[in-house]
Symmetry: C2
Subunit: 372 residues, 2 copies
């Protein structure tokens, strides 16, 4: 019983967290309830029920499947559904008309073949990646409506009246969704993508701001660098989630942020190297490397803030310049270096860190340019 109580408390905490993380979720849930209650008036109000009859149920069905979190998605689904219903309805009525030219016994064969051919062709169309991404829902509704009308039309006499009733209730259901979606605390997907991009860039910034110090300051004394970074889960999980962030693939900034995350992944993999770089080489690159990582981190932080606030990033340019200067410093330090008896094997890992950081500086500069 104690365990059950514990579980219930845990579930309660999860629910609270989910709602607190994004209060719009609670509002969205209430909006769905509201839209459903509105369309159920088709049944509860006698004058409406007399007009539409059992077709009112299609408004309920439409609300449940069309209502989405954001205004854009709801509109897209609504339009998909409306277009698909109209074309499939017209085709279905046409198919019934065609079959009515044949004797009653042969009609099922005509109708059955038509349903078979259209369903197979439409299903095949759904395999085109581009069509699937945009019109998948519409195609399903197309098959559904065509089959329903041409199959059930075989037994229904007042077909046109039925089609008319259903179409109006579907349109009313779709309109209810769109109106509730727009009028009650609307959610715009563009804004969401925007925030996602900003938070991804912020995660990269966190890693970069911490990396330089962790790698160079602890590495020479004790070998805990690996464990430090590997144990600190906020480090890892942060940029790793950017690696897998595909939702906003189309935006240039998001693609660059992912590019940057790949470089950080390469940086991170050098932390597990067993070989210690010799102190004279480390001291050569240390300062500029720490500066590159902290300045790119600051650039990204500032960019993330300005993306969120939709303001012009003021301090970003300065940090970009700083990080470019650090990269140049690194180059001249390496050029000017004259280390005797250099242990090539020992420097290779640290050299990789340095060159990866230079790549990151370039990548961050590109991100900064595309934000401006």
């Amino acid at each position: 019983p104690c365990k059950v109580k514990h579980n219930i408390i845990m579930v309660g905490k999860n629910i609270k967290k989910l709602g607190k993380d994004d209060p719009r979720r609670v509002i969205h849930s209430l909006k769905v309830g509201l839209a459903l209650t509105l369309v159920s008036l088709f049944y509860y109000l006698k004058p409406l029920y007399d007009g539409f009859g059992m077709s009112g149920i299609w408004a309920v069905l439409t609300v449940v499947v069309v209502f989405e979190f954001s205004v854009g998605a709801t509109l897209g689904k609504g339009i998909n559904r409306a277009c698909a219903t109209l074309t499939a309805g017209a085709l279905g009525v046409g198919a019934l008309h065609l079959s009515s030219l044949f004797p009653k016994e042969e009609q099922p064969i005509i109708l059955g073949s038509l349903v078979f051919v259209l369903a197979a062709a439409t299903t095949f169309t759904r395999f085109f990646p581009k069509i699937k991404a945009r019109y998948d829902y519409g195609l399903i509704i197309f098959i559904l409506t065509f089959s329903m009308i041409s199959i059930s039309g075989y037994r229904v006499d007042k077909l046109l009246q039925m089609a008319h009733q259903r179409l109006s209730t579907i349109l009313i259901g779709g309109a209810t969704c769109i109106i509730v979606s727009i009028c009650v605390c609307p959610v715009w997907a563009g804004q969401d993508l925007h925030n996602l991009t900003a938070s991804n860039i912020d995660k990269l910034a966190n890693y970069l701001e911490g990396f330089g110090d962790t790698y160079f300051e602890t590495a020479p004394e004790d070998k805990d660098c690996v464990n430090d970074i590997k144990n600190d889960k906020s480090f890892l999980q942060g940029y790793k989630s950017v690696l897998n962030s595909k939702a906003n693939e189309e935006s240039l900034i998001a693609a660059l942020a992912r590019q940057c995350a790949y470089l950080i992944e390469a940086l991170n993999s050098q932390c597990s190297s067993d070989i210690q770089a010799p102190p004279d080489f480390t001291s050569l690159i240390q300062e500029s490397c720490i500066k590159m990582s902290s300045e790119t981190g600051k650039t990204l932080k500032s960019l993330a803030t300005s993306i969120k606030a939709m303001k012009h990033p003021n301090s970003a340019t300065e940090h970009v310049e700083n990080s470019k200067t650090a990269a140049k410093d690194l180059k001249s330090a390496l050029e000017a270096a004259a280390i005797e008896d250099l242990d090539l094997l020992a420097i290779i890992s640290a050299a990789t860190v340095a060159s990866t950081l230079v790549e990151i500086v370039e990548c961050v500069e590109k991100i900064s340019d595309s934000v401006h």
Copy 2:
């Protein structure tokens, strides 16, 4: 008119290619047509129609929304739908019974509030990522069925008969899907994931097999390495698609393959470096680097083949050993090297390539271990 003709030919070619790439797509389309034609018998055959009446339409609806490409997905959706319909149906009947205790005028208020609360709560549940991944479809059906029963029940007299008819047709529709899906050329998703993993590993192998020669052999003479690799789209697109492959995230081998793709991305970014490594350093690392990349490529090729054929990879172990030997050779060559006046800046990019290749050797060894 010429352009229209051209477009039609292009569309035709696309359709042919889509079907040729995976002939199961054509078969799946025909299966959907078949299942729909089967359930339409509810309308065409008089004895069946007398038994189920208009409820036969729910079998059509079920087939359209439940039938999926693979047997597993169809079963999952079918079970989701069956469970959701049963619980929501029971709750809906319960709600109607509860409301029937009140006078007729108050019933809409009771029913409306119940629909509002249940729809809002279920919609909120859909925001839990784990629940969404598994039961999203079931939850939608749950809202749908509960609303439909409790709303339309207000006007229908023979409610239990209607619920019974609908439930049987939904079950028959679902059963039709599952039977057709299993009996006619079944598609098993496990097999597909399997093949996807194999083809991903194959793409990485292609890049690695080509990289060493391209990077080292053309780089010293002319600077076309960058353009070579950037222009050759099969190189790029190959491993890039692995970066974004998330479908089979859960398998260990797939995760390692993605890890390897990140390393290749880092390798690829070094190809755009402007600075040429001095010949004495290049000759030091060239042989072992080419060997590392070609041997890891061969390992992955052999692993991909054995995954596809589900056989034990015979030659992989040998290639892994070869690549590990090459990595050791590189280390000893670097240790033994005594290059005077080394230009540190010039070697840094080539050194990064070398150390990234060593990382790739380790990663490929892990992949090989997990395949065995």
